[in-house]
Amino acid sequence: MIPAEAKPRLASKARLRFDRQTERYLLLYPEKGLELNPTAVEVVQLCTGEHTLAEIVARLADKYPKQARTAIERDTLTLLAALADRGLIGYEA
């Protein structure tokens, strides 16, 4: 379990790129790419190593007041776990 005060940081090998054909963002890394949905893009853009997990969730909850905070938290954690599995996210102490 990742503590709420951990600060996720996108690995330097990963790069967001807007895709004109799909009008979505791709997260590119060596020889691969992931298509991200708009909320995932917002999470990834906040993974600078400066914001804690709790802050990221709070910021999204503010922006999307109609969504349950628990759902936002769950989706964020699922995304970060998937990215960490691929070595695309690290955590600052």
Binding site: A11, S12, K13, R15, R17, D19, Q21, L26, L28, Y29, P30, E31, K32, G33, A84, D85, R86, G87
Partner: protein, 367 residues
């Protein structure tokens, strides 16, 4: 053609020249007979046209791309187009200064190949004393802040070393380890008797690779794909013909894969003569094996046809002499006996020394 055909990756084979002579080289056997290389401006145009088509990944490869003096300019062009720019290299010849320059120009990632875990064995497969220099280059890659992919082509001489290969990759702090089982086309097909492992050798290696993959999850990506000779099911070669990849050969042919130009009776267009989008959309070569209309039985009625796309056309041609046949690695192929026989030969000859045939410009390969 429709929206399911979008190229994401351009494989730019900048040259067929290479100081190494690997016995499984993916370049065609007659590489030396190909025409002059594309110039810098043409490659830049090809990159731009590829990006317009939807390409986001650029692989700078060869041969050995480092022998191109304009590699710096091409890296710069790739990054100017916001392409994720990968250098796929043997690491020879390279200085730390040149690699640092690539870093400054925005090169995203570097893939370095080694042939085994010790100099003698690695150099034997490469046909050149190169192992120690390759390790030096891999260390520079990490020191300069690039992500490192370590690529090792697997065959019967090094399959037993998978644990040591993983150790080597860890000691180099590689981000990605490709344990790539030999694909038996071109030079590798010529050397198949020397390279094809037994099922037992392969299963041992696979178990070790699976364990390493689990242990290193999140730190190092470990890739190991069961080779098609032992899976009884064909691979989705290149994710399907003309679906996701464009390869441009050193002399400018736009191709669906590394060796498609070895198939007889198909014309492939040259980027010198046509824009890339016209070639991708309309050329005879790219459309030849798209979709399902070309498929024979048993592919045509098979539920896996949308998964493996009938397998590898080049394998069908080079083994069964019919590029439109079901890939012989499929257990349903009428030619599957060829694969079974090759496996039986590997069992019979396990441990026997077989002479290697090195990549060379003068050898005239058997037909």
């Amino acid at each position: 053609m429709n929206e399911t055909h979008r190229p994401y990756t351009l494989i730019a084979e900048l040259t067929y020249k290479c100081p190494l002579r690997c016995v499984y080289c993916s370049n065609p056997l007659d590489y030396a007979g190909h025409g002059r290389e594309l110039d810098t401006e043409t490659w830049q145009r090809v990159f731009r046209e590829a990006e317009s088509l939807g390409v986001v990944q650029l692989h700078l490869t060869g041969g050995e791309p480092l022998v191109r003096k304009d590699l710096e300019v091409l890296i710069q062009e790739g990054r100017a187009l916001d392409l994720y720019t990968n250098l796929i290299t043997s690491g020879i010849p390279l200085t730390r200064e040149r690699l640092q320059r690539f870093r400054e120009l925005g090169l995203d990632a570097v893939q370095v190949s080694v042939q085994d875990v010790a100099a003698a064995a690695s150099d034997r497969i490469a046909g050149l004393p190169s192992f120690d220099r390759k390790l030096q280059v891999a260390r520079w890659v990490k020191e300069l802040g690039f992500p490192l992919t370590l690529n090792v082509v697997l065959h019967r001489e090094n399959l037993a070393h998978v644990d040591e290969i993983v150790e080597l990759a860890e000691s180099l702090d590689a981000d990605r380890l490709e344990l790539a089982n030999t694909q038996y086309l071109g030079w590798a097909l010529l050397n198949r008797r020397a390279l094809l492992p037994t099922r037992g050798e392969l299963e041992h290696a696979r178990a070790k690779a699976v364990a390493a993959k689990e242990r290193l999850r999140g730190r190092m990506e470990v890739l190991f794909v069961l080779p098609d000779y032992y899976s009884d099911l064909p691979k989705a070669c290149m994710d399907g013909w003309g679906r996701r990849f464009i390869l441009v050969s050193p002399d400018g042919l736009a191709l669906p894969c590394h060796v498609a130009h070895t198939l007889p009776g198909i014309s492939f267009d040259n980027v010198r003569d046509h824009p890339l989008d016209a070639i991708w959309r309309d050329s005879e070569g790219f459309n030849r094996y798209r979709g399902e209309d070309w498929m024979p039985e048993p592919c045509r009625g098979c539920e896996r046809r949308t998964i493996d796309f009938g397998g590898c056309r080049c394998q069908a041609y080079h083994l069964a002499h019919d590029a439109a046949a079901t890939d012989p690695t499929c257990y349903l192929s009428p030619h599957h006996g060829l694969i079974v026989a090759a496996r039986a030969q590997a069992e019979r000859e396990a441990g026997d020394p077989v002479e290697l045939q090195y990549r060379t410009a003068t050898l005239m390969p058997r037909a």
